[in-house]
């Protein structure tokens, strides 16, 4: 094990939170980080992949629809299918949905307005690689900035998301209640972030990478990124001990 987790931040034309994700994981968390250009096909042996926020391909056609066909995405999908950790933030969440790694779609905000403010999130499941540093029911303050974050899926998919505890974050009020007023975009069931059934791919609309620096006073986003680091570290440790066992 190399002692540090290596994050790969995918850069699409139009990504604009890629440097924030790099800064958060590299400078703040002290982990390794590399940029992965959308035309590359080499994942550079990373432990976890971040699909950052932004406006990949100018949001043409539908958000994330064109990025999904970038050469790097084939590798990202293979990486995810093999159990690799992938997190999609904002536009990255849209790309994960378009790529079929997560179920559902993100529609235009019900208000038709771009929403840019810090909101309250309630942690619905803390037994995941993305939320292990949080308490169940804990409230996080994390900013959103999007025009298309209105999560939607059919009733059967929503029921299975609920049943499998795949809903990780919901928009909530100051008191932690799930209310219509606390929902910034009209998302079904106040959903802000979900993961796949295997618990290895996660997408969310809020930007944890924007609230990691103590200078900004709020470091709630670290809880999510630190959880990923913990998971990757323990996974690497686990694999190491397996190889050691083999040798005996």
């Amino acid at each position: 094990m190399r002692g540090k987790v290596k994050f790969g931040v995918v850069v699409f034309p139009g990504s604009n939170c890629d440097h924030d994700a790099f800064y958060a994981t590299n400078t703040i968390l002290g982990q390794e980080a590399v940029f992965l250009w959308h035309k590359d096909t080499d994942l550079q042996d990373v432990d976890a992949i971040i699909l950052p926020g932004g406006f990949s391909y100018g949001d043409y056609l539908r958000c994330g629809a064109i990025a999904r066909f970038s050469p790097i995405m084939k590798e990202v999908v293979d990486f995810a299918r093999a159990g690799g950790i992938v997190i999609g933030i904002c536009n990255g969440f849209q790309v994960l949905l378009e790529a079929g790694l997560l179920p559902g779609v993100l529609l235009r905000n019900a208000s038709l307005r771009f929403v840019c403010r810090t909101i309250n999130l309630r942690v619905e499941n803390n037994k995941t690689p993305f939320t292990s540093r949080c308490q169940k029911g804990e409230k996080l303050r994390i900013p959103v900035a999007h025009g298309e974050g209105n999560y939607f899926t059919d009733a059967a998919t929503l029921a299975s998301l609920e049943k499998n505890n795949q809903i990780l974050f919901r928009y909530c009020s100051e008191k932690g209640e799930i209310t219509e007023q606390a929902n910034p975009n009209g998302s079904l069931s106040n959903i802000a972030g979900i993961m796949n059934e295997e618990g290895t791919v996660m997408g969310l609309m809020p930007h944890p990478e924007r609230v990691v620096d103590p200078l900004l006073r709020n470091t709630d986003g670290r809880k999510i990124l630190d959880s990923i680091v913990d998971y990757c570290m323990s996974k690497a440790g686990h694999e190491l001990s397996l190889t050691e066992l083999d040798r005996r």
């Binding site: 056609l61 539908r62 629809a65 066909f69 779609v105 529609l107 019900a110 208000s111 038709l112 899926t153």
Partner: protein, 83 residues
């Protein structure tokens, strides 16, 4: 040469807030008869070196995989001979 004329619209079950906003604007213009507005996209593909059947098949696949997201959108298309 053929031309595929494609229309992509939000599925009926999905609220179209953009259409609603336009509907309200039409109402404030004084046209009370307009009951519902649905917005969508219109896309044309020029297809060279394929039979009509091939053009149809290809358009179907491009629509299903790229131009429309079946979770939220429906698509319709016609194939016409290019003049």
């Amino acid at each position: 040469m053929f031309i595929s004329k494609i229309r992509v619209t939000l599925r009926k079950s999905i609220l179209d807030p953009q259409g609603k906003a336009v509907e309200h604007a039409i109402a404030s213009m004084g046209f009370r008869a307009v009951e519902d507005v649905r917005m969508g996209k219109y896309i044309e593909l020029k297809v060279n070196g394929a039979t009509e059947e091939e053009a149809r098949k290809m358009t179907e696949e491009v629509c299903g995989r790229l131009l429309a997201n079946p979770v939220m959108e429906d698509y319709h298309f016609e194939i016409e001979k290019c003049p």
